[in-house]
Assembly symmetry: C2
């Protein structure tokens, strides 16, 4: 029972650290968010912080997982296209997380990178879920039914990722507005 | 004249180094392409290599510029959409360069990063050139004329960047095939 209590405490502490880390990355960006700064925000030493996560890369993957969980809870039950636009709009308010995601995604192309498995699993999970909803929207006459739902989902995903890169270079770009124009092409013609 | 000769020699040497660096990055990838490895391939010491480029980041930006020059020469005069598809297909054969581009693009979101100016200039140059050609294709009836050519170009650019990220995680993805399906949506209806 003592072990279980210690485990539960560890889980709570881990959640607290992730909250602090999310705030530091969202505010200062990925490149400038050091292990020391995140440790300070969580009231720990750098070594104490890494005790919970192993390595800096694993800490950053845990931050992205925490953000996925929050986004998925926030928009659960909403129409998939509207939720996608809402997440895109929200992202424009957390440039540090967008930068962290883009940076780790680029590094994770290497199968040996610690974030590789996370990104593959994330793609499969998000695309499976979204594809089923897109197919339902097609059956309901909300989206053109002559397009492969898997292609629609991959394209929306790639478009959002690519627009994030463009937006990081030029923050005046309206990511959600760009995607809305793409969605017009997916509407059934009358 | 001696100075001019030395300058011309420097330019030639710089070209040779870029050729060697392109080959090393294309073969081994960005993360694994060390300054030492590129120096070895160019027959220089690491210090000798950096004499020509200043820093590792500036060397990598020079590699991307050399690749842009080559792609632009290779497809000069071709239809813009066909050239875009041809570059996309070619990219699937040089994963190291795709990785270098994606990694530097993600880092370059930070205005203080040495590649920031390169990526902003590249986006402006490529999109200005492509937009004029897309507008001409619209006038010629090859593309729908009810879509903003600037939006078409930004979307093709973002889609290509996003598909590169997806392809790095899953090399079975057919990047050019995905884009061809998007292009179908841009065709005028008859």
């Amino acid at each position: 029972m003592a072990t279980r209590g210690a485990y539960a405490k560890g889980v709570v502490k881990r959640e607290e650290i992730l909250e602090a880390a999310l705030a530091v990355v969202a505010e200062h960006g990925y490149r400038k968010a050091s292990v020391r700064e995140i440790a300070d925000a969580a009231g720990l030493s750098p070594a104490g912080l890494l005790h919970y996560f192993g390595t800096k890369e694993e800490l950053f993957v845990a931050i992205l997982r925490a953000r996925d969980d929050r986004d998925e809870q926030e928009y659960a039950g909403e129409d998939v296209v509207q939720a996608f636009l809402a997440v895109t709009r929200h992202n424009a308010s957390v440039p540090g997380l967008v930068q962290l995601y883009a940076q780790l995604a680029a590094e994770a192309g290497d199968p040996e990178h610690p974030a590789h498995a996370y990104f593959r699993e994330r793609t499969a999970r998000v695309e499976d879920f979204t594809r089923a909803q897109v197919a339902a929207d097609q059956q309901a006459g909300l989206l053109r039914d002559d397009l492969d739902p898997a292609w629609i989902v991959r394209t929306m995903h790639a478009l959002a990722d690519g627009l994030q890169s463009a937006w990081m270079l030029d923050p005046s770009l309206d990511m959600a507005g760009e995607i809305e124009q793409f969605l017009v092409l997916l509407r059934p013609s009358h």
